[in-house]
């Protein structure tokens, strides 16, 4: 099923696995060189920057080529039918297959761009057909299933993270649309059904340990964790309830609301605790981010403190808590340590932190001529500004 040379894939896992060891001094450099020679990987795998450059250029080429073809055939009105994007998508896909086989590209930017183009064109064309055929009920479900199947195929073939993520999301959407067709009972039980679906998805993919698809499995697991949380998040449930019952946003009551509050508050904590216990970075980080989401959710309903007091207090608490934790973890505790992980290419090497601080602090306008924001209040959005990287 997978398009790549399986021997090389196996060799790649071995080499990737050992990458950090010569730097950390566990094995000698000569040994690593010998192993690399014995386990050759013939793929073209450029670095992150090269891939980004190739990705941008391939996108430009594909865009211009599609424009050119559409322009040349504009007189025949063929572009006005859903067959046209599907035709273009098939061309993209064929080029993708040929290039990947011939040049041994492995997520090198060129193949990523072609993959997303063909997925987008094929998916768009199929959705167009569905919307044109005037199905009254279940067209959402059908669309979600079609996209899901398309992305599952592409993921199995190219082991791509983005298509895997889209497949997972559309799978959840299919469950949602399917259950929504059950009528009122379906809508009332929706959060629980989504929770079950997400939990089942996580459980299934947690068992899988397929080497070729390891990154795809990770992204699906992360999305399942997020869906599991979102399904019971009070804000999500409340908005959904309002939309489905045609209420406006002022309604903040949800039947059995306390269940969802407990869910919103405790699930991130459970993720963090489990992550620490099982030494699972993914669970830990997802839990930390979702804890932030929970705080925002809570604040959306209960304004216990004015925003500035909350910011200051939470900043103080965060600083104190992390300081104490760092102090205590100086000597490893229960196998948890503060020492930096032994990995090649940590974020520090990219100099990102400095750039992020620069980005966050660039609005700190000292004594800017203008009374509107005279001091550094602007940096309050510091956490959000890192999104731009």
């Amino acid at each position: 099923m997978i398009i790549y040379n399986k021997l090389w894939l196996n060799n790649k896992t071995v080499v990737d696995h050992l990458k950090a060891d010569p730097i950390a001094g566990h094995i000698t450099k000569e040994e690593f060189t010998k192993i690399r020679a014995a386990y050759p990987v013939g793929f073209y795998i450029p670095g992150l920057l090269v891939s980004a450059g190739l990705f941008i250029l391939t996108c430009i080429i594909a865009m211009v080529a599609i424009g050119l073809l559409s322009l040349m055939t504009a007189a025949t009105h063929i572009i006005e039918s859903p067959g046209w994007p599907i035709f273009l998508g098939v061309i993209c896909y064929v080029i993708l297959e040929l290039l990947t086989k011939d040049k041994h590209y492995f997520h090198s930017g060129v193949d990523n761009a072609l993959l997303y183009y063909s997925a987008g064109l094929l998916g768009g064309g199929l959705l167009w057909i569905i919307s044109k055929s005037n199905i009254t009920t279940g067209d959402n479900l059908l669309s979600a299933i079609v996209i899901c199947l398309l992305c599952i195929y592409l993921t199995l073939r190219f082991a791509d993270v983005v298509t895997a993520a889209v497949a997972a999301v559309s799978a959840f959407a299919s469950v949602y649309f399917f259950w929504a067709m059950m009528g009122t009972i379906g809508l009332a039980t929706m959060p629980f059904v989504m929770m079950i679906a997400a939990a089942a998805m996580y459980y299934t993919f947690n068992k899988l340990n397929h080497l070729y698809y390891i990154n795809c499995i990770s992204i699906i697991k992360i999305l399942s964790l997020i869906t599991l949380y979102a399904a019971g998040n009070y804000y999500v449930v409340n908005s959904l309830n309002n939309i489905l019952n045609h209420l406006d946003d002022s309604h903040i009551y949800v039947p059995y609301g306390f269940i969802f509050w407990i869910w919103t508050m405790l699930l991130p904590v459970a993720y963090v605790v489990l992550g620490l216990k099982k030494k699972n970075t993914m669970l830990l980080r997802t839990g930390l981010i979702l804890a932030g989401a929970s705080v925002v959710t809570f604040r959306n309903y209960y304004h216990l403190l004015p925003i500035e007091v909350m910011l200051t207090l939470s900043g103080l608490i965060l600083l104190a808590a992390s300081y104490i934790t760092i102090k205590r973890l100086k000597t490893p505790l229960n196998g948890i340590t503060f020492a930096p992980p032994e990995q090649a290419g940590t974020p520090e090497s990219l100099n990102l932190e400095g750039l992020i601080i620069g980005q966050a602090a660039s609005h700190l306008a000292p004594a800017a001529p203008g009374p509107s924001s005279p001091f550094g209040g602007g940096s309050g959005g510091g956490s959000g500004s890192s999104d731009s990287f």
Binding site: L18, G25, H26, I27, T28, E31, I35, P46, L49, V50, G53, I56, L57, I60, I61, V64, A65, L68, L71, M72, N209, L276, K279, L288, I307, E308, V309, M310, L311, G315, L318, L319, S322, Y323, I326, L329, G335, T337, F338, P340, P341, P347, N351, E353, G354, L355, I357, G358, A361, S362, L364, P366, A367, A368, S373, G376, G378, G380, G381, S383
Partner: protein, 330 residues
């Protein structure tokens, strides 16, 4: 499956007994690192605290009194710097590591509150009068001094931003694109000057070996600012005969960046130089074709784009290969 790989390699003879023993030891006391998580929480704490204090001061200005606020901010600032001066490692022209993890964050908090303090003084008491230049110049000097003295890349970025502010512009790629204040010729010229200063600073940093690792920050901001400003200049003077001069300067700059990037073996800057100059040439080509062929040019133009972009892809792949080969020779 982890031990499998190692034992397999061991039996195949690729791993010596000593290395295998080391790996086994590593695996038996494998530790789970929460380094990045805690560091992120620390930065988040600093950001929240400084942001919250900023708003707190802003909202309560009438009730708590300016002196109290100033004293409070000054206290934080002095506290942070006292700590930093006490715990710092001796100054060196090379990279100096922070003595402990909290150090960088305390320094950051101190610097932000220092900037807030000066800004507040100026806003409330107009200490520098209407001389806004001076009011931005002094924090900038402080920030550069702190960045070099304590060796902090984040504060260097803040200092560069302050320099831009002093010159009357605001940088970082996001603000450059978001606010897009390229409508006046003075601003464009200031941008070009500012970018050239940064590039010069990058060159000098390396040439005289003062904090060599700062070069990347200078170069990064310098390259983006100068290229974008030159392109803006080209479009601003679009209808004048001199507009081509901007492109010529841009290409000359790209040649310099390329030369420098090859010496540093930095693919990032090679990529930037190539992409920016490609964009400039594409603009020039479009203009020339439209001038000569009018509407018919569009097909030809599209084909040109496709062909040149494919060519560029091969070029990038080749450059990357060559850079890597050089790496292996070392």
């Amino acid at each position: 499956m982890e031990p499998d790989i190692y034992s397999k390699l061991h039996t195949e003879g690729y791993l010596s007994d000593a290395s295998f023993e080391k790996i086994r030891q590593k695996q038996s006391n494998h530790l789970f690192s929460v380094h990045w998580e805690l560091k992120t929480l620390l930065s988040l704490g600093v950001m929240l605290l400084s942001g919250g204090l900023g708003i707190l001061v802003y909202k309560n200005i009438d009730t708590i009194g300016h002196q109290v606020i100033l004293a409070f901010i000054a206290l934080i600032c002095i506290g942070c710097f006292t700590y930093c001066f006490k715990n710092k490692l001796p100054f060196s022209r090379a990279k100096v590591k922070a003595p402990n993890t909290g150090f960088d964050y305390i320094l950051l908090l101190g610097s932000i509150s220092m900037v807030t303090f000066i800004g507040y003084l100026q806003y409330q008491y107009t200490v520098f009068g209407l001389n806004y230049g001076l009011a931005t110049f002094i924090p900038m000097l402080f920030l550069f001094y702190i960045a070099y003295y304590f060796d902090h890349l984040g504060i260097l970025s803040m200092a560069i931003a302050a320099l831009a502010l002093w010159m009357g512009i605001s940088i970082t790629p996001k603000t450059l694109l978001a606010y897009g204040t390229f409508n006046s010729r003075d601003i464009i010229l200031t941008y070009v000057l500012f970018g050239a200063m940064l590039l010069a600073a990058a060159y000098l940093t390396k040439r005289f070996d003062i904090k060599k690792h700062f070069k990347f920050s200078y170069h990064h901001y310098g390259v983006h600012v100068t290229f974008i400003a030159l392109l803006a200049g080209y479009f601003e003077f679009y209808n004048e005969a001199l507009s081509v001069l901007w492109i010529v300067i841009l290409l000359a700059l790209a040649a310099y960046i390329l030369w420098d990037a090859y010496q540093e073996k930095s693919f990032y800057f090679i990529l930037l130089a190539i992409l920016y100059s490609y964009f400039a040439l594409a603009c020039l080509l479009t203009r020339m074709l439209f001038a000569t062929m009018r509407e018919d040019s569009i097909y030809f133009l599209f084909m040109c784009f496709i062909g040149s972009a494919i060519g560029l892809i091969f070029l990038l792949i080749n450059i990357n290969k060559n850079l890597k080969r050089d790496d292996h020779l070392q």
